[in-house]
Subunit: 275 residues, 2 copies
Amino acid sequence: MTKQELFNNIKKKKSFLCIGLDTDIKKIPVHFLEEEDPIYAFNVKIIDATAKYCVAYKPNAAFYESMGIKGVIALEKTIEYIRTKYPDQFIILDAKRGDIGNTSEMYAASAFEHLKANAVTVAPYMGEDSVTPFLKYPNKWVILLALTSNKGSNDFQLTADANGERLFEKVLKKSQEWATDEQLMFVVGATQGEMFADIRKYAPSHFLLVPGVGAQGGSLEEVVKYGMNDQCGLLVNSSRAIIYADDSLDFAFAAAEEAKKVQQEMAVYLNRLID
Amino acid sequence: MTKQELFNNIKKKKSFLCIGLDTDIKKIPVHFLEEEDPIYAFNVKIIDATAKYCVAYKPNAAFYESMGIKGVIALEKTIEYIRTKYPDQFIILDAKRGDIGNTSEMYAASAFEHLKANAVTVAPYMGEDSVTPFLKYPNKWVILLALTSNKGSNDFQLTADANGERLFEKVLKKSQEWATDEQLMFVVGATQGEMFADIRKYAPSHFLLVPGVGAQGGSLEEVVKYGMNDQCGLLVNSSRAIIYADDSLDFAFAAAEEAKKVQQEMAVYLNRLID
């Protein structure tokens, strides 16, 4: 999917919501445990209930890997389900991968050839040759960690060099030597509030993947205020607050209601942008 | 496995060699393609041929993931094979994982509960709460990226702050607030040569996992000169140079010969240490 196609979907659906499929066997409604593949069965219901309110899904690899083979099968089937039934959804494999060149090539093959995701999250620590193998796939995206939503983001990402340039700024600048905003996005946590203004100094036109609204406590209003650009430039993710909105038989209805609520707030912000 | 047990194995086998199982279906001898599970069948032959010369195996998750379900099955079976047949081998899942706390918990469950590896490689970019979930497992290890073997290690890892402290040094220091050398190792590339002396300033007693000898061109002699401590403190990895030493029917013999050659060089260094 190209950047323009993504923006078109955002305008059409009046949403820049990404739903995180952090599906945990311990948290899904118990009646799914009777299913042959409870994780996949749950995901299908969530996806069918929420697809009209979002433009992206983000399965979190860790949750599937923790279940071994069964989990990996559920992940493959989930992505395939989204791809075939909702081909306009942008599918992000949230995996935080990154290794030396010949190994990143393998991770890229896994994400793009095997799973056929549109994008994969990548950790920048190992530098250029750990990232560029993911960029060899036309119209596939790297979403590079810049400033994350968690407490530990303070440990290294904010470290300033002798010129006052912080590590996340260095990541934003350096990585633009490797790809354009047609293939590169950045992860910036919603909990970072006003830091979005700093991010936009270095990456005015890039899409940002923004986790941390919802369970982690970030504010959508602040993210929009400081982070939105003239092509929206935001994919705001919510995982737990939507997919576990309710654990009764009404879970899918509750997830849809929660997604709709976020989408309606987003529609207001988008209307301002488009007006 | 504890640090003392690992050192005992090193002394017993006169080896601190780790063999990287970067098994690639395109590189294994063609007769394996007739096997039901070529990757696993190849690994078994390599492991049986080399186990006496090494103290650790390091399957590289990317190579298995790139093959989807089949690859993940081969990975599980490979680790199980090493665990049961060679229980004194230290098994490192090379996966470069790391995410927000609740997600790192899932990666830790995958590495330690499901796959039952002894150690997992972790990327430090997201800081403390992305690393500590892996430390909740007694006698299981985090091997944190510090200074990697690839060219891209220059992009961010060497960036100095206003006090001249480089990012990899910050990682070495900060992470020691989270764990002791009984649970924490660091990745330092063999290609980094004299930098090992700098590493040892900050991490004198830790084990270092050292990739980059062999195909990547690092020198074992330099690594030992600057990196060895009084409990050895080194696990030197070789992947391609051993497992693909030959692609004929003699591949296992060639791998054993190559591993033996490295082990014999290591024995000389260890004898100096123990004398």
